[in-house]
Symmetry: C2
Subunit: 429 residues, 2 copies
């Protein structure tokens, strides 16, 4: 049985208790939302890893993507990046490898104690190219074989472009787009559909996919192949039409007892973020929303982590539940360890800023920092910093002749004068 | 006569023409808003520098702060930072020096072709400490002397805590705060008021200040001494009470033909940004709003530029007109050149994201980038990047064995298959 089936049967599982404790909510409330599908618990039934819940009323989660490429084919370097991401506070890691795929995935599953997601089509496409000379030669059986293998390996959630069907393709053809399709998996899938004049196998055989996911309670992350890749394509016909199909598939997955979340853009102007989230929540019946960024302008290569932090915070405020990090080097190359670290922290800042508006308990951290600042307790400020190591190293590079106290006031300290005048008690000025 | 007086008299000045051209709006519209006070043109009448306009319906502007400290007392290094800020696209520079003040200010005024602002109280406080042993010994005549000197030197806008009066101080005492006062100038001013049992001289002698500003059409940037320094103090009684006083002073400044803008927080939870901006715009009769960040959480030392980009974008979307950058090292130490550069770019990303929702013309940049991406024109993508040098250096650190084309597809390129299927013409897919 899957977590959603247990919840419907009124059975509280150890995983439900763990996540309810961590989120600080009654397990009964969690179970209600789990049964309804507005919360998912990411955890392959075979893995002995820390379960992470995503969705309605929970802390906003952050995912970091790593993976080998043609240029960087060493699995161990990607394992290191995954470890950096976890240490920086990523709630989940996605392995998007396109070389040495089995080995990298298995090593990451060993090294990461939190949920791991994959995009199985990458492996199926790569194998088709290696075996048959082109990604358009990917066989349907091969694709489902890869999915089954990854589920058996222990992957906790699968990103799959199930809703990018012929109907959405024809819609994109009729209305036109600025950037056709920027989703890597999505583009290749559409290329496959066009070349072979066939329907998307993940759409056509969706029930088969559900059966595979059911074996180990793997969560489906329904990816959007028509994810807008530039502001100009945001909320266009192809995206909205695919969102409607995504909603239909959410319903079918839930009926079969499969946990499901929906992946989102991409690139969205600030004024359209609220509309995008509201529409997704409505059309997909409150399924947890996993957004990629989003970026709020197209012109920031080198600083896309800052850009995505803006989009992530505004999205989470509007109801998005899960932020896929975007690193500084997105659109330029794959990230190194330092850029992975900074990408995770930037996304966590966005998540925490929104948590303050979703979860009263999230305020404690900020209160503690304010008090440490008021009392000029530098050590405590550094310990409380979201990236303690970075904050400490920056603080240490102050000039040697500076002290910890203010050098400005001279004989009378203005701060003390103010504090004494205003102060009624130690903790309130 | 000042720009606001010319506008009221129906006279179009060369400065109005320059900024109207740059903003792409009819000069008559600009003059109407200038006369009403919802736009200011930053430019000391003595300086032969590029005027910059801030306010209603204009592109959101970005300011970078530099300045000597006890640890870094070399004026030339601060001049270099100011130059870095201008090259990175800062619209204005503020010199907040506390040592070698006259020399640093004059060198920055020479080196920066855009508006320069100062916080004259820093100089008056420092001189009091040097001459009389304490900042609380600052003489009222000395303070006004410093202000007059800085105006005569050519400073374009002055940040002054005119509204931090005894009434707001008593309010803060009654209601209490988590962090008393984190504004550096504001705290010292309050310390001075408490120690000397006197009213704020900038409030008491506000008309005298207006007379000085009038001589060279210097814009007043009314700073908020009770700027919340942590989320917990946002929109508290002291802040709101000071905002009311700020509104009264805006009216008095306008009556005397003085251009005026209002400075704002600080630290604001995401859900309170819209309220803060709306309240300021209402209480201060639409005066341009110059916000410091704001930060949307307290816990990000080392990453405050990312945090401030979130707050800045949401603020500008809500109507803020001018973003004071916050660097990564805020709360830790003063920034180096690289951190100045990154701080300016982060604030510009926030400003541009909001411009897209304020100015239709702002979209051209993003459209150009999307088209460069679609056509895989790497050189154009790098030229269009908000920080071309950074993007170029990141792109160059790709592995040597990677080409510019996709290594994934093999014999059939899926992207080409998709583009051919969807494409009706070259530019639209």
């Amino acid at each position: 049985m899957t977590q959603i089936e247990y919840a419907r049967a009124g059975i509280v599982t150890p995983q439900m208790r763990i996540v309810a404790d961590k989120e600080g909510i009654p397990v009964e409330e969690l179970a209600v939302r789990l049964a309804r599908g507005t919360i998912v618990i990411l955890r392959n039934g075979m893995r002995n890893s820390e379960p992470v819940a995503v969705g309605e009323g929970l802390a906003v989660k952050v995912s970091a993507s790593v993976g080998t490429s043609v240029e960087q084919a060493d699995p161990e370097e990607e394992v290191k990046k995954a470890e950096v991401a976890v240490r920086a506070g990523a709630d989940t890691v996605m392995d998007l490898s396109i070389t040495a795929m089995d080995r990298t995935r298995r090593r990451i599953l060993q090294a990461v104690p939190r949920p791991v997601g994959t995009l199985p089509m990458y492996q199926a496409l790569t194998e088709a190219r290696e075996k048959a000379g082109s990604t358009v030669k990917m066989g349907v059986e091969d694709l489902f074989g890869v999915i089954a293998q990854q589920v058996a390996d222990g992957v906790d959630f699968l990103a799959l472009h199930c809703a990018t069907n012929r109907d959405t393709l024809e819609s994109a053809k009729r209305t036109g787009r600025t950037d056709c399709s920027v989703s890597y998996g999505g583009s290749h899938l559409v290329g496959w559909m066009v070349h072979n004049q066939m329907e998307n196998p993940l759409y056509e055989h969706f029930d088969r996919l559900l059966t595979i996911c059911h074996t180990h309670d793997v969560t489906l992350s329904l990816a959007d192949g028509w994810r807008p890749g530039c502001l100009a394509d945001s909320l266009d016909a192809a995206q909205v039409r695919e969102m409607i199909v995504l909603g239909e598939l959410v319903q079918r997955a839930r009926e079969q007892g499969i946990q499901v979340m929906v992946k989102g853009p991409g690139h969205v102007p600030l004024t359209e973020i609220n509309n995008t989230i509201t529409l997704q929540k409505r059309l997909c019946a409150g399924a947890p929303y996993f957004v990629f960024g989003p970026l709020v302008t197209d012109i920031t290569p080198g600083y896309d982590h800052v850009n995505a932090a803006i989009g992530g915070a505004v999205s989470a405020l509007a109801g998005a539940d899960f932020l896929c990090y975007v690193t500084a080097v997105e659109h330029l190359r794959l990230p190194n360890r330092r850029e992975v670290q900074e990408g995770v922290i930037a996304a966590r800042i966005a998540a925490h800023a929104a948590d303050l508006t979703r979860k009263p308990g999230a305020w404690q951290w900020d209160w503690d920092m304010s008090r440490a600042r008021k009392s000029l307790d530098w050590e405590k400020q550094l310990v409380l910093a979201i990236d303690q190591e970075r904050a400490r190293s920056m603080r240490q590079t102050r000039s040697a002749n500076s002290g910890d106290t203010c050098a400005m006031c001279g004989r009378f300290c203005a701060m003390k004068v103010v504090a004494q005048y205003l102060g009624k008690e130690a903790d309130v000025c």
